[in-house]
Chain length 460, copies 2
């Protein structure tokens, strides 16, 4: 089909919403390492997991073999409210850059949660409802995951308890109000409502909280309240599975026009968006059918892939969660106040970590001011105000397109635009006022995090 026929926005039909999620683990020659029980050092069993997670989600978490897992019709019906998400040809950006590269982006911000998080939130809430549970608990930092979960729970009539890091609760009151509008109970963490919260407040009066603490409180409430389970918006295998709709729709849209991307770029915090975007393409690469360059983009202030260690570590700073093998800066690593809250995680999805370790993908770290320069340029040219997280991918997509301008290569670039920045205007204001700064941890900073890695048998 001729180039000219590609529209600005490629919308698939509702009937083309994927029927199945794609589980990239099925095509991985080396599977991601299993979660370990931190007390015993043994792989976590389904039974151990089922006290924390819903049963069907435990099955998905442990399933390294089934390539295609059917998406229940009820979830597909919910997806119809905001999916298929558009795949956008960045004609305006290409022209402004003067590049021969063809740039596409999958825009996941066209829903009220403002990001791709809703894809997994509805799946996790659905299985909780199906299991007859009364409600779910979770933590939220930047607030995108909490908002998405609130929306999914409101739709299904499920109770939703969100522990929001206190500093975010106070600094992002509007995020909090969106969650409350969707009926969620939002508690600033640490709180006096949990034993772990009271203990932390006693030890650190006046603390503004952390994601690790909020996780601890959410898990405590889930495991101590009958009819509740805990849900998580990233890192886990099940989340990458649900997010595969991003990549499946992107691939279907490109296939319609006979377009094959050369480079696929996504921002990486816990890996939910990147893992979802690349999965069907990675499957082709793993099966030796096609080759692609995959680039994970992370903040220079929290460089798990580019400067982390591939080791077993705790997923939370409170060290109550299972151990995961992943690229990590150490659960004691405190990321600086980078505004891309969704990328401020010390670790990384085990699946993506294994793929990176096996040389199947690349990673680059970028600095915050360079990211916001790209974000502002993109907003003005393409008309969408991007989230700081998403803007990491924009930065590298622009950099790759400019390389094509130098070499004259007509490469096709696909990147994930995970969400919108409407609730991140404090960060934009800092950029607009010229007072935004960069931060790169020193080797000494990183050594502190590495020194606290847990001792696991068989791990160096």
């Amino acid at each position: 089909m001729s180039e000219k026929k590609i529209p600005y926005k490629i919308y698939l039909d509702e009937s083309e919403i994927p029927q199945n999620w794609y589980n990239v683990r099925a095509d991985m020659p080396t599977k991601p390492a299993p979660l370990l029980n931190p007390a015993t050092g043994a792989p976590l069993t389904a039974e151990e997991m089922s006290g924390i997670f819903c049963e069907e989600l435990v099955a998905q978490e442990l399933d390294n073999d089934t390539a295609y897992i059917p998406i229940p019709q009820e979830i597909r019906d919910f997806y119809k409210m905001y999916r298929p998400a558009p795949l956008i040809r960045a004609y305006c950006l290409e022209k402004a850059l003067g590049t021969p590269a063809k740039i596409y982006y999958k825009f996941e911000g066209n829903n009220t949660s403002g990001s791709h998080k809703l894809n997994s939130a509805i799946a996790q809430a659905y299985y909780a409802k199906k299991q007859g549970l009364k409600g779910v608990t979770t933590e939220t930092g930047a607030g995108q995951w909490g908002t998405a979960l609130s929306m999914a729970c409101a739709y299904l009539g499920l109770d939703c308890k969100v522990f929001m890091v206190k500093v975010s609760y106070e600094q992002k009151p509007f995020r909090r109000e969106v969650m409350r509008t969707y009926g969620a109970e939002v508690t600033p963490s640490p709180s006096m409502t949990t034993a772990v919260g009271r203990k932390i407040l006693e030890e650190h009066p006046g603390t503004t909280g952390s994601l690790g603490c909020a996780i601890s409180e959410a898990v405590e409430v889930a495991t101590s309240t009958p009819g509740y389970r805990y849900v998580l918006g990233s890192v886990l295998n099940q989340v990458l599975l649900h997010q595969s709709v991003i990549g499946l729709e992107s691939k279907a849209a490109l296939d319609k026009y006979g377009v094959k991307p050369d480079i696929i770029i996504g921002c990486a915090g816990g890996g939910s968006n990147l893992g979802g975007l690349i999965s069907p393409f990675m499957g082709e690469k793993l099966r030796g059918e096609k080759d692609y360059r995959f680039i994970a983009v992370e903040p220079a202030s929290c460089p798990s892939f580019t400067r982390g260690k591939f080791a077993y570590d705790f997923c939370d700073t409170g060290k109550i969660c299972p151990l995961a093998k992943m690229y990590t800066l150490g659960s004691g690593f405190i990321p600086s106040a980078n505004h891309a809250g969704g990328l401020r995680f010390h670790g990384m999805s085990s699946t993506l970590s294994q793929l990176y370790h096996d040389g199947m993908m690349e990673a680059v770290a970028v600095e915050q001011t360079a990211v916001f320069e790209a974000a502002e340029k993109f907003a003005r040219i393409e008309g969408i105000l991007p989230a700081p997280e998403s803007s990491h991918a924009i930065r590298v997509a622009i950099d790759e397109a400019l390389k094509c301008k130098e070499t004259g290569e007509e490469k096709t670039i696909l990147f994930g635009l995970t969400g919108t920045g409407y609730f991140d205007m404090v960060a934009y204001q800092k950029f607009n006022d010229g007072v935004m700064t960069d931060y790169i941890p020193t080797d000494e900073d990183l050594a502190v995090g590495f020194s606290a890695l847990p001792v696991v048998p068989g791990q160096e």
Copy 2:
């Protein structure tokens, strides 16, 4: 075509973006009354207008005869970034209400300005650029119009000076930052940068400003700075013309499925969204081809249609603008602090006023808490967090659907969902906290506004 085939979201092709705007005035037997020069009482000439507005926009403002005016290709290209906007079948809302009514809404919030305002902003900016101007000035209250204009100007490389009502500038810093991110110069009004601003500040030190004052400052800068003109986001005939894309796309989408709405509902502040949504349907009604019920929804706190007078009045509280014949509460009427900032205008589009006066449409006034009840219900059921303005239409759409439930009638309802509420969370918070109040002006309150209506020859 069978009912079942209608998807959740009807997306037209990019090729189906309208080629022409539709000018409903061409089909009106009684044309809207002309703008008058307040000094002479005579109809404003094109020459008088061209000092304030761009030439092509003056022509559009005065053209009561041409039914279809071509949309320049450059504007259609910009429209492709966010149009065609989806027409959504509210299956979830119908089910939740248990109504036999079929509900559709045209969603105009899927762009970074968060509302339909972008449809006219790009048109007005385009004609300014085409005329070789350097920039435009405007005022903004709630901020949707200012944001839309900033985006359009950033795209075209046009300078954009926005006077933002001081109280909004301080209470809505995020709106301000979005405009700055798009390169606009945002000045809190009243300011020391204009003669009128300095005069007002001298007379009323510490004032938090008003829309009327911001208009005065924007007009002063436009008329005193070479290469600048003033642009306005509502009320004017030209704005309704540009906004006709809303109705044209809605009609094209419904026609594809052989659906004819019985009732068409829109919120009404200055009339830009309502006028755009209903125009092609109103054309059919005016030509006697089909009948429709049109319902304008306004806040009970600012009831121009339902309690105003049809009279010549100033469009601004500063009384420097031309006189327009419209339903008005008097330019001295100060609307209470209703959160639907976009509906806090004392007057109304002359075109819609004439149609209402001629019995072609109905109007209802609704109270704020009832509006937010509808907004929250809609957000939870349909997954979109609506703007307070848009939620006025949702309230009446739900009311009409519930009437159908009582009578068993299977009416088809179409309403305009003009935008999203991401920057209105202060209002949602008041509702969530149960501290939102209603306000209905007394007859005495209204008498004050009416007493200040200007004396115009031939007007009672």
